[in-house]
Symmetry: C2
Subunit: 362 residues, 2 copies
Amino acid sequence: MIVRRSSNPIRVGTVTIGGDAPIVVQSMTKTDTRNIPATAAQIEELTDCGCEIVRLAVPDMEAAQAISAIKQNISIPIIADIHFDYRLAIAALKAGADGLRLNPGNIRDPEQITKIVRVAKERQAPIRIGINAGSLPPASKPYPSIAEHMVCTALEQIHLLESLDFDLIKISLKAFDVPTTIEAYRAIASKILYPLHLGITEAGLPKAGIVRSAVGIGILLHEGIGNTIRVSLSAHPCEEVKTAYEILKCLDLRQHGPTLISCPSCGRAEVDIISLAESVDRYLREISKPIKVAVMGCIVNGPGEAKDADVGIACGKGKGAIFKKGKVVRTVTEKDFLNALMAKVKNVLNKQVRVPQQSKSY
Amino acid sequence: MIVRRSSNPIRVGTVTIGGDAPIVVQSMTKTDTRNIPATAAQIEELTDCGCEIVRLAVPDMEAAQAISAIKQNISIPIIADIHFDYRLAIAALKAGADGLRLNPGNIRDPEQITKIVRVAKERQAPIRIGINAGSLPPASKPYPSIAEHMVCTALEQIHLLESLDFDLIKISLKAFDVPTTIEAYRAIASKILYPLHLGITEAGLPKAGIVRSAVGIGILLHEGIGNTIRVSLSAHPCEEVKTAYEILKCLDLRQHGPTLISCPSCGRAEVDIISLAESVDRYLREISKPIKVAVMGCIVNGPGEAKDADVGIACGKGKGAIFKKGKVVRTVTEKDFLNALMAKVKNVLNKQVRVPQQSKSY
């Protein structure tokens, strides 16, 4: 059981981050923000695959102003990603952004930050202090590690915002280096009560970037640290959202659609388990309810090894056993493996009593 | 810095597991073991992609005897995976297997185990006690958790082997459920000094299986637990090996070929960063030396954000900056992005002083 770190909840539009809220899944659009239809379409795709908050780059005034039209076509909160120019932050808020991400490495003037905070406060829009190991402000003193420099930069910015009587704050401390990221989040976790946004920056292409994000974010979540996550991948942003849910699912922190248990196959298997698992996976993508389905290559110990699964198949030469919670319910011939398994999956899903999603989210 | 758990080293053929040895990467063939050419060819592929020990399923006597011919065509140690029939273990050892994996869930008779141990001892071949949450022996008493049942089963088997004066032991405690796996390995880590083989069983297809393995194995490795790892994926076994190295690399536990740092792209990017990163990745696959290469979408803060990289490119509209360790060394136009970056990568690699691989493995 993961004991989650205490944090004060904040609201980003309609979504709560921190406190006892489920860990929120975020992503970021990769379209030109000024291209309103393309950006709105990508946000719709992201929403469909489970993204709960979306961040948009705001490189200029036209992008800031586009937020107003984009918001009319979407249903999830928007966070404006601001660098260098504080006026873009103010324009984004005025255009309806539900929150901001500021990088203390490139907007440093306290007067400029004061101006941003004034508008954020009026609109009750939270600010993420988004520290990035690669774009820290110059060190005012020598730090024993990059992680400490990151944490001190965040604390300085927190103090500035608090001095302006602003506490709608969220913190991130991202690095490409996983041990640095872990060190930084662990250090800040015990010092503040603000919610934490987790991520590994510039993690790369799938699959290396998936591994890097899963290891870094997974270690922190398992320690109870983290209130919202964004997986950064050089890929379509829906890949980021899917990876985020896989991380949360395997730590029992969220439910999200079906889970496929499948054996890696070995010299013991007498059918092509990998192809069968791939076919089952394609069918499962159409299902949104949580269900555990197993595809196993041993008829002898398959049902036992996957007794955790709601439904499964254990395949032998020419015939297979369909099982439910480890108990064999039917024997089928090879040509019926896929259809019989999917029929049983549908049957189990139809029998499931509906329970409210929110209460099942942990 | 990860402080690794103390463990007594054992040898599997020419490979050391435990003690101060680098964490060893394993996989398992998915061919029919009795098909000697196919199995030897897959082991060669695995060796080429970095697999250091390979496990083979031994479902019958023909498979056990095939080990002898397979070994003549390969260069890494073989572990025979034995279930149900103790005679297969003895036959596999006599055919030249460098080690065994036994599952106490399906070979339970102490007399049979004694017979296996006698042959293993003669040949100094280690035995992995391979506990699997789904195929545990019946519980002799009620256990508060599956993890405790797994740990107690392992300890009983360890005591049996020790009573036979055999200590070439390695332990695994695999489950599909990540929290159960972590609980089991943590519990046993402080109780014994034998090396631990980590894995998440039946983790599924890439990418869900990659996430599940990275989270589970990553959390344990970061705590210093684990001496050898096997990622189980319903995919070609080289995918397992690549994933294993990505996990080890991102925790600085092993070096293995190049590392690509690439930004996820966003509305700020003015070129197609994802395609460029994919092209760079294809080139990097031909390189075996460790080098960090960055592909960044911001010309303004790209070099800084990726200053960790040995070589990188920060791309703007129509032109990009090639940088080395965060310092811009050359500006290039868009058509030369890929060639200029790869030329600089080769240039840096040629200048690198060769250092012995073994000492760089941590």
